[in-house]
């Protein structure tokens, strides 16, 4: 689709969002909770906190719920009923971190709209989509991804832990967003890159009237974001130094909590489990983490990744080597959540940059 | 360590000899003590007899003042006072509510951190046997001395936490340091009648008499005490007892500090030994021989 550009005033963006809510859509935005900010359903534009850099968790759970039912069974008499959960997938059971109640409603027919995400979070969607459609098409993911509309707002000031530019995105990237907003003018400039974006703008005559189309040139140009190090070098190091002692020493301080993976917008490992009794039950998939000791524990008792160094190396390898070799894209959007949330202050930006420097100097 | 000194009422009155001699020997021992500023009466037996909380609050004021003046250790030479101070500390240690009430009433913070010593404890633990021994210039080897402990120095053990309540040895140890011969006898910890001195003189005389005659029988030249009340009963009432039982006693009653003072070489006048009712000249003579 050909990109389109608009201008919209602050008042109008508020109207637009509130209209979307009223149009039976579920709008999810950064929202204050427990002196932190999480993505959560809003019922009014004012609920959204657009000033903070990033919510504590990404909106990954709207694409890959923490627990997702794949099918349910029940036994009645001599018949066994299997209930395929796919038809509900678009509105699968999601427990919102803020709303404080399970929410099964998932407004039938409505869209799920993420509002106010940053370009890094938005970038995670298409990155995940690749892995869920590589050979097996994961309909559970696709259903939700299809129905998820993303309106993001460009960053002005990244913090110490951010490295989206190094991760080949940028604070103003529109990759993965249906609509990208940039502050300026009477409120915002908007860049629409997808049909889904247009669909939102044209969802009602009132909505389309709120947006004033402008030329590409009138849309403010991106700043010249400079990468502090070359991520290709990081990959280069990983290519050659699988057995480097660096990993063992560096990750002595890793306690294997897995927060990095759970808060990561692109980490997508899951575990399939069954729950139930003789009468009824279900098959579910739950979030899982490569940082756990039992993640690769074989039935024999052997574990190919014995140390936490092995496990974190795996995370680095997957993100900056293996995934790139397959999809020509890094499995990282540089949001820095893993560093910010790490209880032991392990900083991924610091590590990737160190590896890149070591590759430069030929150090092993 | 900053040492506080809690004299109590008796040492400023009827038992001024105790204070005089005590200050003398502390000087000799080169130990500096400071009187607790604006101290008050501990309430003695009267308070705990009539009002438990008051009996804790009155001594607590002294402790709180001392604590807030940066003291860590209190010397309470009077056995009754040390008993009341220790009891107050003990009670507040196990009753936080009372402690808070008292602290509120005094409008002073109070942590209950002080250590309280009676005279014997102070001499043995803080001054130290070695030091005392080194100061003995005139060994009192010609004297046979009976130590009378009475009640409040060692009882009740869970509060006093000092010496054996039924077989105390601390004062005898001090006596031995002076070179004098400690005399063993049966009534070392029997009560002299204490506070009932004024109200029940007959009872007091019966009790005190039993003690004095027993000491006499065991051949002591004199008695040492570490309690003004014991002193008062044994010394002041001695004549009266002799009259009542028609048998002479004639036992001088000295404070332990006076005995130590004599051994340190102070003169009887410096130690105010002349302040006692029972004349001590005979033993002083024995010493100078």
């Amino acid at each position: 689709m050909e990109e389109k550009y608009y201008e919209i005033s602050s008042d109008n963006i508020e109207k637009f969002i509130n209209n979307l809510v009223e149009q039976n859509n579920e709008v999810i935005a950064p929202k204050d909770k427990d002196s932190d900010t999480f993505y959560d359903k809003i019922t009014n534009f004012k609920d959204a906190d657009l000033n903070i850099l990033l919510p504590k968790l990404s909106f990954k759970e709207y694409l890959l719920p923490k627990t997702e039912t794949l099918f349910e069974y029940s036994i009645s008499g001599s018949s066994i009923n299997i209930l395929d959960s796919l038809e509900n997938a678009g509105a699968a059971r999601i427990i919102n971190n803020g709303s404080g109640g399970s929410d099964n409603s998932g407004k039938k027919g409505g869209k799920k709209i993420i509002f106010g995400s940053r370009p890094c979070d938005a970038g995670a969607g298409p990155i995940m989509e690749k892995v869920f459609n590589w050979d097996y098409k994961d309909e559970f993911f696709n259903e939700k991804f299809k129905n998820l509309y993303i309106i993001s707002i460009a960053c002005v000031q990244p913090d110490n832990y951010c490295f989206c530019t190094e991760a080949q995105l940028s604070p103003e990237s529109s990759y993965g967003s249906d609509i990208l907003l940039k502050k300026g003018g009477s409120g915002y400039y908007a860049k629409v890159t997808t049909e889904k974006g247009l669909e939102l703008i044209n969802s009602s005559s009132e909505n389309s009237s709120l947006f004033k189309e402008i030329s590409k040139e009138a849309f403010p140009a991106d700043k010249d974001w400079k990468a502090a190090f070359d991520i290709k070098k990081t990959q280069g190091f990983l290519d050659k130094n699988f057995t480097s002692n660096y990993f063992q020493e560096k990750f002595l301080s890793c306690i294997g909590c897995g927060i990095c993976t759970y808060t990561c917008p692109t980490c997508h490992c899951f575990d399939i489990q069954d729950e139930g009794t003789n009468e009824k039950g279900r098959r579910i998939r739950n979030w899982d983490s490569c940082q756990f000791g039992i993640f690769t524990l074989h039935t024999s008792g052997h574990n190919p990744r014995v140390t936490q160094g092995d496990r974190y190396r795996q995370r680095l390898m997957h993100k900056f080597k293996i995934y790139n070799e397959k999809f020509n894209k890094y499995l990282c959007v540089g949001c820095g959540r893993c560093s910010r949330n790490c209880p032991e202050d392990i900083d991924l930006k610091e590590i990737t940059s160190e590896l890149s420097l070591m590759e430069n100097s030929g150090e092993v | 360590m900053k040492l506080a000194y809690y004299p109590g009422c008796s040492l400023k009155g009827t038992s001024f000899e105790y204070e005089t001699s005590l200050l003398k020997i502390l000087e000799a021992l080169n130990i500096e003590v400071q009187e607790i500023p604006d101290w008050n009466c501990c309430g003695a037996s009267a308070a705990h007899s009539l009002n438990h909380n008051l009996s804790v609050a009155l001594p607590a004021r002294n402790l709180a003042i001392a604590e807030n003046n940066g003291f860590e250790e209190v010397l309470a030479p009077c056995a009754a006072c040390s008993s009341r101070l220790k009891t107050a500390k003990h009670e507040m240690g196990s009753d936080d509510i009372l402690k808070k009430r008292i602290s509120d009433s005094l409008e002073m913070p109070y942590k209950n951190s002080l250590n309280i010593s009676n005279m014997l404890e102070f001499l043995l633990n803080i001054a130290g046997k070695e030091k005392i021994k080194s100061l003995v210039k005139k060994p009192l080897s010609s004297l046979k001395v009976a130590s009378y402990y009475g009640c409040l120095l060692v009882r009740p053990p869970k509060v006093m936490k000092f010496d054996d309540p039924d077989k105390p040895v601390s004062m005898d140890e001090l006596v031995a340091l002076t070179g004098a011969v400690p005399v063993d006898y049966s009534y070392k910890t029997e009560c002299c009648g204490a506070i009932n001195s004024l109200s029940k003189p007959d009872v007091v005389m019966a009790l005190t008499g039993k003690i004095l005659y027993d000491i006499k029988e065991h051949g002591a030249d004199l008695v040492v005490v570490a309690c003004p009340l014991c002193h008062s009963n044994l010394d002041v009432r001695q004549r009266e007892i002799e009259r009542k039982y028609a048998e002479r006693i004639g036992l001088p009653v000295l404070f332990i500090t006076e005995l130590l003072g004599l051994a340190f070489g102070f003169s009887p006048e410096e130690l105010a030994i002349g302040g006692h009712m029972v004349n001590a000249d005979k033993i002083l003579q024995k010493l100078s021989n």
Binding site: - | D38, C41, R61, R155
Partner: protein
């Protein structure tokens, strides 16, 4: 002697004493060691162990009017030797306090009671004991004007009796303590 035990009164009295004593009366198993060692037992009308039992049985009148509670000199021999760790001396304090609170005047041991009262008054007004005033007031109150009088001249001569009082300067604080805990 016969006593009819009124259960309500028994409980009231026993629990009043127990709560002040922070100890259980039932702990006493009546071995009598307290009475055996008490130095003033010979003057008492009830032995200490009897006082404990009578308190447990709620005989408030007899206990609070006894000589025993006022004769006790708090020498703590009983508490020290009690095999059950019972606060025998403590219960005497409690009973005296209860008697005083109830306004019971000891018929036989008025002197002791008066002495304690005069003593506390003295503390209240001076913060410390002014011995001459204490003795004087006590004698006035008990009318034992001449008892022990022969001791006075010699004591004055020896410097044992001071002629002026040495008051606590922050006497308001002493007053406050009395007010807060009375």
């Amino acid at each position: 002697m016969k006593t009819v035990i009124n259960e309500q009164e028994r409980r009231n009295f026993a629990s009043e004493v127990e709560s002040k004593l922070h100890d259980k009366l039932a702990k006493c198993y009546q071995c009598g060691k307290c009475s055996a060692g008490c130095p003033v037992n010979f003057e008492m009308d009830y032995t200490p162990n009897q006082i404990i039992k009578m308190t447990e049985l709620g005989m408030a009148d007899r206990v609070l009017n006894s000589k025993t509670i006022w004769l006790c000199v708090s020498c703590n021999t009983c508490s020290t030797r009690c095999p059950k760790g019972f606060e025998v001396a403590g219960i005497m304090d409690v009973l005296r306090e209860v008697a005083a609170k109830r306004g019971i005047e000891s018929k036989t041991e008025k002197e002791v009671q008066t002495f304690h009262e005069v003593f506390l008054d003295n503390v209240k007004s001076n913060g410390r004991i002014f011995e001459l005033e204490l003795v004087g007031k006590y004698k006035l109150k008990t009318k034992h004007l001449f008892r022990d009088m022969f001791l006075a001249p010699k004591m004055i001569e020896k410097g044992k009796l001071k002629m002026h009082s040495d008051k606590v300067s922050n006497i308001n604080q002493i007053a406050k303590i009395f007010k807060d805990f009375e």
